[in-house]
């Protein structure tokens, strides 16, 4: 290379600029002109005032430092979180909040996975639900007011590029009435991933019988698994938590064996709320029951069912939770069967 340019700073600067711009144009500027950089799923809904306020709080508190929001197309990742992330899910994300570090789990499929009540408890005291969690408490967000004027200004700023986000102050004020920062954060969390259908983890075969129904070890394992995975919402004894999740041992929920067959029970645990129609349940298919199909092995789910039926029988034997109308139908006694 000619040595002359190393005596000419302006020429050198111009050549360096060109060298820098080639890669920038090809990989950064040119893609902006392509449609595949601006995709938008038809199912994607714009942020509501409360959700955007929650996203602002998510940004402010640096949640992106520990949580990603993008599921990679890897089998283990899809099993853990759900469907992999689609480019068209992020059309309203200014900026993207995919993150670069998973100190905590990915949140791209967190929306609707659990009931609101779970999130309020978890934000306030993560260690109460997961003793080994290292997440700080965000209970201090509770009671902190939202400023409708600020949120409206934010909506209208985004409205410059997404007209559908524009909002007037009165409407924003109405939407935020009585809400605090924690409400907003929960609302934001619950809409994450809404544009993609939730995982269908249930089995369609409702005639399956629990192969571990009479297994003593399954009762022990079921109890352990219940405490690890379910008790945060359904209580240590399966009795439920007011406002979060129903009791699993009263007849209203569990019924008798004929009412909720093993196969349907399996489908509910494996597929979560989405499986309710499959299982023939009346409950809300949009409810907050997690699909455990990717996290628990088959035997583990059957063990849970064994323990829950055992628990139900146990409670019934003690005379709790047996509504008068159902007195005729005697609960099974798994205790006896276990001895076989």
């Amino acid at each position: 290379m000619a040595g002359e340019i190393y005596k000419k700073p302006i020429t050198l600067a111009l050549m360096a600029t060109v060298a820098i711009l080639i890669g920038s144009v090809v990989t950064m500027a040119y893609p902006m002109l392509r449609a595949d950089m601006h995709p938008k799923l038809e199912t994607l809904k714009p942020f509501t005032a409360l959700q955007l306020a929650g996203r602002d709080i998510y940004q402010r508190e640096g949640c992106v430092g520990c949580h990603t929001q993008t599921v990679r197309p890897l089998p283990s990742e899809v099993a853990r979180y759900g469907d992999y992330s689609k480019a068209g899910e992020f059309a309203y994300d200014h900026p993207f909040l995919w993150g670069s570090k998973r100190t905590g789990p990915d949140l791209a499929r967190e929306g609707g996975l659990r009931p609101d009540g779970w999130h309020y408890q978890h934000y306030a005291n993560p260690q109460a639900l997961f003793p080994k969690s290292n997440m700080p408490s965000y209970g201090w967000l509770k009671g902190r007011p939202l400023d409708p004027a600020e949120v409206a200004a934010h909506l209208n700023a985004l409205g410059m590029v997404h007209p559908e986000l524009k909002a007037d102050l009165a409407a924003v004020r109405a939407q935020l009435a009585g809400k605090d920062e924690l409400d907003a954060l929960v609302a934001y969390t619950q809409q994450l991933g809404h544009a993609v259908a939730r995982r269908q983890g249930g089995v369609a075969d409702l005639t399956l019988e629990n192969p571990l129904a009479h297994d003593t070890q399954a009762v022990v394992l079921g109890k352990k698994l219940f405490l690890e995975n379910c008790s945060a919402c359904h209580g240590d004894e399966g009795q439920g938590t007011e406002g979060v999740a129903p009791s699993l041992i009263d007849d209203a929920f569990l019924g008798e064996k004929g009412d909720l067959p093993d196969g349907a029970y399996y489908a509910l645990i494996s597929g979560g709320s989405d499986a309710k129609p499959i299982a023939g349940r009346k409950g809300d298919p949009g409810g907050g029951m997690t699909a455990f199909g990717g996290q628990l092995k088959k035997d583990e789910i059957w063990s849970l069912i064994t323990w829950l039926r055992n628990q139900k029988a146990h409670e019934a034997a003690e005379g709790h939770d047996v509504p008068p109308a159902e007195k005729g139908a005697k609960p099974e006694k798994p205790e006896k069967q276990e001895k076989k």
Binding site: M28, H94, P95
Partner: protein
């Protein structure tokens, strides 16, 4: 005869400011390392991990990094151009604005004002401050180079010119945003596009903040302090042009397996592999320069700083491209491996180069010798042990984490819940804090040595004035 006294004070002002912000950044780093294993250490909203992490990264990248770059670049430019700065007062004003801006940046981040883009967290009013600082810097650098007395420009000047241009382009484009309030804005770009612009910026902020200006320092101060000529001018030319050309293509290796179009990811990975060549061109140039006389390792205490700095640069630039490969990325991406990687570059390459350069500059400015070579040696070994313990620990836990996330049973279900994978990190996170403490103690030895050298130099000039 040139009089550098005024400009030298500016240079020293930048160095001392950088050291101050470095201490702040390192202490914040220690605190957030504790918060990862002790959530109760998130004392108040403005002292939570989420808000402090950007204080750590920005404090060190822009407080320590940019401070050192401003100060030492001015020093290098003046020497290589054979004249003082063209606008000495401008540089002094820049020093003051720099400190005010970094202080304001730290406070604003702790208050939760952030754009949420990594290394571009600062909100728009501060961005304007950063751009003003950079323009002041560019004006002085270019004016001094244009009015230089030595016709031929040495390789360090090329790297400085590229740094000034690239940072300006990167910073301005990625900070384009829609203002939504006094301290709030939204990235102009959305979703995948936002991600692509951010990592085009994010990767090249590393390239043009932590690589090119430090290569300029390395290629100036290493031959100077060892009194050895640069091994190959031709190799510098090759390495320089291929580095500044290749770097800008690589941002997408941060987005492997994300919804970003595959062709951009692949292009990013390919150019990342290509970058091994120019990086190792500099490594070879460094080794062969010292190779002219390896006895310098014994006779000059700074040799080991420079040799280990370029060694870590070499390791970093092989590890980085390896991580970009899809098969490696799927195991270690999002794990603690990544902070292990980053800290080899920052605590190894950047810190060792900066410290060695400062050890050279401060005595030169004061016409004295280093206060204590022995303390410098203690500093070196503590920093080495701290850095290696940090990085190796994080690599191990990163691989473990990645493997546990991926582990499935025969029927395709997962072996571990997320909390199980997290709970296995605690011993490594404890060790990381220990590593950070060792590193910090090492840096305290460095600071003591620098301050005592300045004091010694002032005593000498006072004595000379009295005589």
């Amino acid at each position: 005869m040139n009089d550098y006294r005024y400009d030298n004070q500016t240079v020293q002002g930048f160095i001392l400011s950088a050291i101050f912000w470095g201490v702040v950044g390192i202490l914040v780093g220690l605190l957030i390392s504790v918060q990862l294993w002790a959530p109760a250490a998130n004392f108040a909203p403005y002292l939570t991990y989420g808000r402090l992490r950007p204080v750590h990264t920005n404090g060190l990248a822009f407080g320590l990094g940019a401070g050192v770059i401003f100060g030492l670049t001015y020093y290098i430019v003046m020497r290589l151009c054979g004249r003082p700065l063209v606008f000495p007062k401008l540089a002094r004003v820049q020093l003051w604005i720099f400190n005010v801006a970094i202080a304001a940046a730290a406070v604003s981040l702790m208050m939760g004002y952030t754009q949420s883009n990594e290394y571009a967290e600062l909100e728009w009013p501060l961005d304007i401050g950063v751009v003003i600082l950079w323009v002041m810097f560019a004006v002085n650098v270019f004016a001094t180079i244009i009015k230089r007395r030595d016709e031929q420009m040495y390789v360090s000047l090329w790297y400085i010119i590229a740094t000034v241009i690239a940072i300006a382009v990167l910073y301005i484009v990625n900070n384009l945003s829609i203002p939504a309030g006094g301290m709030k804005s939204y990235h102009l770009f959305a979703g995948v596009n936002s991600a692509n612009v951010e990592w085009w910026y994010g990767h090249n902020a590393v390239g043009f903040l932590f690589t090119t200006p430090f290569l300029a320092m390395f290629f100036y101060f290493m031959p100077k302090s060892l009194n050895l000529p640069l091994y190959s001018h031709r190799l510098s030319i090759l390495a320089f042009w291929s580095l500044v050309f290749g770097y800008l293509w690589t941002g997408a290796h941060h987005l492997v397996y994300s919804p970003l179009p595959d062709w951009i990811q692949t292009l990013g990975i390919v150019f990342t592999l290509f970058l091994i060549a120019p990086s190792w061109g500099s490594v070879i140039n460094g080794y062969y320069t010292v190779g002219a006389d390896w006895s310098k390792m014994k006779t000059n205490y700074l040799t080991k700083f420079f040799i280990m700095a370029i060694t870590f640069y070499g390791l970093q630039t092989v590890q980085g491209p390896t991580q970009g490969l899809r098969v490696v990325s799927q195991l270690i991406h999002y794990t603690d491996w990544v902070p292990g990687h980053v800290h080899m570059g920052t605590m190894g390459w950047v810190t060792l180069t900066a410290c060695a350069s400062i050890y050279y500059v401060i005595p030169k400015i004061h016409g004295t010798a280093i206060y204590s070579e022995k303390i410098a040696n203690i500093h070196f070994w503590l920093v080495m042990v701290g850095q290696l313990l940090f990085s190796v620990t994080m690599w191990i836990t990163g691989i473990q984490q990645g493997a546990m996330w991926k582990a499935t049973n025969a029927d395709g279900t997962l072996k571990y819940t997320f909390v199980e994978t997290l709970s296995k990190n605690y011993p490594y996170w404890h060790t990381r804090t220990l590593a950070g403490v060792i590193f910090t103690v090492g840096m305290l030895f460095f600071i003591y040595n620098v301050l005592m050298t300045i004091r010694q130099g002032r005593a000498r000039s006072a004595a000379a004035a009295a005589a």
